[in-house]
């Protein structure tokens, strides 16, 4: 890719939301997700300006997985994604009602289930239902056909349901 700042800024606007969702689902705090997102887009910029890139979304997710791995390696402490204590602190305070508590529980369950899914299925669910992208956009992001994406989403929903059922 050429050092076209304008093009990269537009791509950033297009992809930052889905990358942030990918990171937020795996990192303990919003601040960590922000920092990781900046790192991902900086590394992608450096890579794109020196190498031809055919599939930017794939590159961004690959870089993001590397950043997440680095994050946990550098922290040298196990952060349990199941507990999500950091996100709980930001989401609910002591005065929350029963509805909010139930919502927090759902979030925790969904995060845990998404992280337990195969990466492609988790990414398809995130793009389709959390980022609310049309099937064609999800298919383009995953570099699959629409039919293949539909099948993938079907399996992902069933897997998620099984993981969330008591």
């Amino acid at each position: 890719m050429h050092r076209d700042e304008r093009a990269y800024a537009r791509l950033y606007q297009l992809y930052v939301d889905r990358i942030y969702r990918f990171l937020a689902a795996k990192l303990p705090t919003a601040a960590d997700a922000h920092d990781a997102a900046a790192t991902v887009f900086l590394r992608a910029w450096n890579y794109c300006t020196s190498t031809q890139v055919d599939h930017l979304s794939g590159l961004l997710h690959t870089v993001a997985r590397g950043v997440i791995a680095e994050f946990y390696r550098q922290r040298r402490e196990t952060v349990s994604l199941d507990e999500d204590s950091s996100w709980k602190d930001t989401l609910s305070d002591g005065s929350a009602g029963a509805q909010q508590v139930q919502r927090d529980v759902d979030v925790s369950l969904v995060r845990r289930a998404l992280n337990a899914l195969p990466p492609d299925q988790a990414r398809a669910l995130s793009l389709r239902y959390l980022s609310d992208l049309p099937i064609s956009a999800v298919a383009a992001d995953l570099k699959r056909s629409v039919n293949a994406t539909n099948v993938l989403l079907y399996r992902a929903v069933r897997s998620l349901r099984k993981l969330m059922e008591p």
Binding site: H2, R3, D4, E5, R6, Y8, A9, R10, Y12, Q13, V16, D17, Y20, R21, F22, L23, A24, A25, A30, A33, H34, D35, A37, A38, F41, L42, W45, N46, Q52, D84, W87, T90, L91, R103, D106, V107, S108, V110, R111, L125, S126, Y129, L130, S131, D132, Y154, V157, R158, L160, R161, M164, E165
Partner: protein, 378 residues
């Protein structure tokens, strides 16, 4: 819980911060600002994204970038090819250079590299001998050319040739210790090269050369002669020590060559003495006296050569290589003295007889033959 419930649940949680739902415009700008600061981009993502169309400069910049992908390897390949080609051209040019030329040191450097890369003393002997031949060719070429500093260049070439021959003999001596079975083969290479050097020397155009150049030719001739003697000496020593069939064959080959050369010189010297005697027969007695005395002296000095050559042949047949070559060397020394004296007498006689050449008598103009015959009038 049905699949539909799962989808609805996901949709309902899309704004949850723990699932990335809190990433609004503010966060988007913050993350971009962080990226922009480190990458040197515009701090505002909206400014960076812009709305204006690309300019011609942008398109040209992009085209240059796209073409760079294949131009770079092409340029690298072209550069490498250029280097190889220029190196080849330089090497070829240096190969034809003579002492005193700009590229001559490069030629010598290339030869040094070849010698350093040579794996065995035998290979080094072969290379030194080949380079000695090159030096001799250069010397002959300088003799033929009208170049500035001809004598100095000639001296450099001859000195380098001597250096190469000395190095070859040094390697031969090393081979004598480390691998005596290879000495004969290496010495054969050296002997053939020294023979080639003699041929080159004979081809040197010395007719109109200056005294200094002639002197250098004489030095070259003496150097080659010494090299031949040294090669034979090494072969004799090796043979006396190890008595190998190969050294014996090589010595016999060298002997035959040297014997033949000496015999030819002997016959020629005798003929020259006879010619001188006949030439001065018509001169007045007082003038012819010194020439006749010199010719007779030459014939007298040549008398023992018959026996020397015969003895050398017999001793060689009996296996006395060292003695046989010594006898040939004695014959050669006698011939050197006789040839020198005869040459001096011949020059003196020729100088005394030199007269101004008579002008050729002009022939009367011939009658034209292509004039048509005149026909008589009826």
């Amino acid at each position: 819980m049905t699949d539909h419930d799962v989808k609805n649940l996901l949709r309902s949680l899309r704004d949850e911060p723990a699932l990335g739902g809190s990433f609004g415009d503010r966060a988007q700008k913050d993350v971009w600002a962080s990226v922009a600061q480190q990458a040197g981009l515009s701090a505002s993502v909206k400014d960076a994204a812009g709305t204006s169309a690309y300019t011609l400069a942008d398109y040209l910049d992009y085209a240059a970038h796209e073409t760079r992908a294949f131009l770079r390897p092409m340029a690298a390949a072209a550069g490498a090819a250029g280097l190889v080609l220029s190196g080849w051209v330089t090497t070829v040019s240096a190969g034809n250079s003579l002492p005193g030329d700009v590229l001559y040191p490069m030629k010598l450097a290339g030869e040094r590299v070849q010698i350093r890369l040579a794996g065995t003393p035998k290979d080094r002997v072969r290379l030194h001998a080949a380079f000695a031949e090159r030096r001799m060719q250069e010397a002959v070429e300088i003799t033929a050319k009208d170049v500035p500093y001809r004598t100095d260049r000639m001296r450099t070439a001859v000195a380098s040739m001597k250096g190469e021959l000395d190095s070859a003999h040094g390697e031969l001596a090393a081979l004598q210790v480390s691998a005596p079975e290879l000495v004969a083969e290496a010495a054969a290479v050296l002997a053939r090269k020294t023979e080639a050097l003699n041929v080159l020397l004979e081809q040197a155009p010395v007719s109109d050369a200056s005294e200094a150049v002639l002197q250098e030719v004489a030095v070259a001739r003496e150097t080659v002669k010494q090299a031949e003697t040294q090669t034979v000496s090494t072969l004799v020593e090796t043979h006396e020590q190890y008595e190998q069939a190969v050294t014996s064959e090589e010595l016999q080959r060298n002997f035959r060559r040297e014997y033949q050369r000496t015999a030819v010189r002997f016959t020629t010297a005798r003929s020259r003495a006879a010619v001188l005697r006949e030439a001065v027969a018509a001169l007045p007695a007082e003038e012819a006296g010194s020439y006749l005395a010199a010719a007779n002296q030459a014939v007298t000095e040549l008398l023992p050569l018959d026996k020397l050559l015969a003895d050398a042949m017999n001793v060689m047949a009996a296996g006395g290589y060292r003695r046989a070559f010594d006898l040939l060397a004695q014959a050669g020394n006698i011939l050197n003295g006789v040839e020198g004296e005869l040459a001096a007498q011949e020059i003196q006689y020729t100088a005394g007889r030199m007269v101004e050449p008579e002008r050729p008598v002009e022939a009367p103009p011939e009658e034209p033959t292509d004039v048509p015959e005149t026909t008589e009038a009826p």
